[in-house]
Symmetry: C2
Subunit: 420 residues, 2 copies
């Protein structure tokens, strides 16, 4: 059923691969224009999604993620224009040389081709993904959550109007508008036409994609993030970093989940950290030794509980932190190797040898010294925009932006060269 | 059942990630030494495999691929030493910068972790893969064809002795020694422990891996390769290139499968090319127009046949070439877009505009101008060694060597940095 969608995406990708930087920038800006021009239709479709979701009893936090307003739509259009202004990732020669036999060899950045993106409730993803993929010269097949189908359809309609205005096929950006979940499975096996799948959503979606796809999938987004504090770490940095990593935005993947404290630092660090977190209503789930220290001078209203086994390796996505005292760096590295999802981990220390070992040995997409884990984000790390955060090791790791949406090819120029 | 293999590979990968360049080089050289020292055991195991294969009626070409001799084993050991001498791909900082907030950011090459390699009848792959992965800091789980199980077991035994001698865990390189095909399926879903799968074999193996793996798979190795000759191409280059691309080693993936000739060049080019190919007993399967021209001055002993639909998009792996006349560059590009597997294609021309369009628009791992497709190979392109040729677009495309066996991580150093 998705066969014809796939075929036209592949065709559109061939057209896109021939466009100039200027044409693609013009197309991205045309999308931004069209989003503003079609504001009325988009907001009215979103209002219908919101009504249906409210009637279905969807929770307030999710409703807020679904909501589009005039101001939000303008912000989305502005983000799209930001993408247009980024440097073109394509046609960059990143390696070149001449072989002893005279063959001239270049490796050059080229589009991926067709990218499938499966996302959940955020309608802004529709426009973000369209802009990034188009800029990177790839066609996209989008599959949004059924809760926002009307919104996504209206957004895609506007985007396609924008594409037509600059003489690009509207099939550069297509939406699967059948809410049947079977279509997701179909998209995941459309390997004849689709080169890459990016899921944007929770652990369940990523797992489903990994199990069912015959197309390479970028998995990620799930972060069980650790901080390790040793006895050399200055308390005036420890408290703000732990608080920031935990409370600044607890619902996201780079928020802190587990605090590991070196035994020699525990008496000094834990009461201060616990008090600061208590001010933000963070629930602390503590291993016995940490529990004893924190309980010793704990105010009655603090939420301090014993940790269960399930509290290690859990992504809380809420104001909850698990805390454990460890013997030292080796024990911290072991804990992280066992429970981390390979997203973001940080060491707070003044001991350079310990810092370098931590940065070298922790096998995560982003490893930090003396900084909050909350910086694992394309915009924060200076990439301008981000399509996803990868926690797998192939192709791209950590924040993925335009460069990570490209492939490369070998271009080899000879003059009658044959192999001996 | 492979669970414990996976767990020990993961553990070995942690050890490997902490080794120095010098330790890993020493380990690779120790493998080479051990292969020579255990020559008698390896050759005797191979002799047993050969006897069993002959009794089972395995074909001569395959038998030759299975065979180890003292000289071949020495060549394998020499190849292993070549890998030891290549530059270390790990711990290279390939991007660095300081963000406006003072965070110092580096992107650095790190090991993949655990790599699963599934291969068929060539016992030398056992040693090649072990050397490359070890050099790149990853542990390996190998699964060889059941025809060479005794040989592979003896090779792995030697390799593990080499590892022990330099105090590395033998579990850095493990072999699945159960010939049951169910183990392949199990390896493909061992996603908790394995980071990447590399199949080395025919189209069937690649397809099986893509369908069944929950781990990222590097697919490739299947090449339906095209040459396009336009009216500006000098015949003194056309004939040697086409002959080289087709006959120098017809059984490999970068050998030529289809020749497309611009109509304006056909009368001049086709008889000369056909005559040269006929000298090498190449069978020509020709579309009607090409057939008419070639038949017109064809010697009776030439093998010239009408092409069927199945001859386009077919990887012959034999002395067979399909030939078609096309209107010009656009038609050639359309044919290639339809039938290519994205491996290697070449244009023979003196028209720079046509050459640049071809190199830009053909969406293959390697695109050539005025050269044989036979250069798509790690050693030929100066990579020193090769683990596979990828025809997919994620992670690595074309010949894969040490750099393509690495991942990267973001290393971020702050001084109390928190996100605003």
């Amino acid at each position: 059923m998705l066969e014809s969608l796939g075929r036209s995406a592949r065709q559109a990708a061939r057209t896109l691969a021939r466009t100039s930087t200027e044409q693609r920038n013009r197309a991205v800006n045309a999308i931004a224009d069209a989003l503003i021009e079609e504001r009325a239709a988009i907001l009215s479709a979103n209002a219908a999604d919101m009504r249906a979701a409210r009637e279905a009893g969807v929770k307030e936090a999710l409703l807020d993620r679904m909501l589009l307003t005039s101001a939000r739509l303008e912000a989305i259009a502005a983000d799209v224009r930001t993408v247009a202004a980024l440097p073109d990732p394509l046609n960059v020669v990143f390696e070149r040389g001449v072989l002893p036999n005279g063959l001239r060899v270049e490796k050059i950045r080229v589009p991926i081709g067709v990218i499938g993106v499966i996302y959940e409730a955020r309608p802004n993803v529709t426009a973000d993904v369209a802009a990034l993929c188009l800029k990177a010269g790839s066609a996209v097949i989008l599959r949004g959550g059924s809760d926002i189908l009307r919104s996504a359809t209206a957004l895609i309609h506007a985007i396609q109007r924008g594409l037509e205005r600059v003489d690009l096929p509207p099939t550069c950006i297509q939406l699967i508008d059948d809410p049947d979940r079977e279509r997701v499975r179909e998209l995941l096996t459309l390997d004849q036409y689709v080169d890459m799948i990016i899921p944007r959503g929770g652990a369940g979606l990523h797992e489903f994609c990994r199990r069912n796809a015959t197309i390479p999938v970028i998995t990620g987004g799930i972060g069980v993030c650790h901080a390790y504090v040793d006895h050399t770490a200055p308390i005036e940095q420890v408290v703000p970093i732990i608080v920031n990593a935990k409370v600044q935005r607890p619902s996201v993947c780079n928020a802190l989940d587990t605090l590991l404290v070196e035994r020699a630092a525990a008496q000094r660090v834990l009461p201060r950290v616990a008090a600061a977190l208590a001010e933000h209503d963070v629930e602390l789930r503590c291993a016995p030794e940490a529990l004893a220290i924190i309980k010793a001078d704990c105010e009655p209203e603090w939420r301090v509980l014993p940790a269960s086994d399930a509290d290690w390796g859990q992504e809380f996505l809420a104001l909850v932190l698990s805390i454990r005292i460890v013997d030292g760096l080796d024990a911290a590295l072991d804990h992280i190797a066992t429970y981390s999802t390979g997203h973001s981990e940080t060491i707070l220390s003044r001991d350079n040898a310990a810092i370098e070992r931590f940065l070298h040995e922790v096998d995560s997409a982003a490893v930090y010294a003396n900084a909050s884990t909350r910086f694992t984000d394309g915009a924060q790390l200076g990439l301008g925009a981000e399509i996803a955060v990868s926690t797998q090791k192939l192709h791209a790791r950590g924040p993925m932006a335009l460069a990570e949406l490209t492939s490369y090819k070998w271009v080899i120029r000879g003059d009658g060269h044959v192999r001996e």
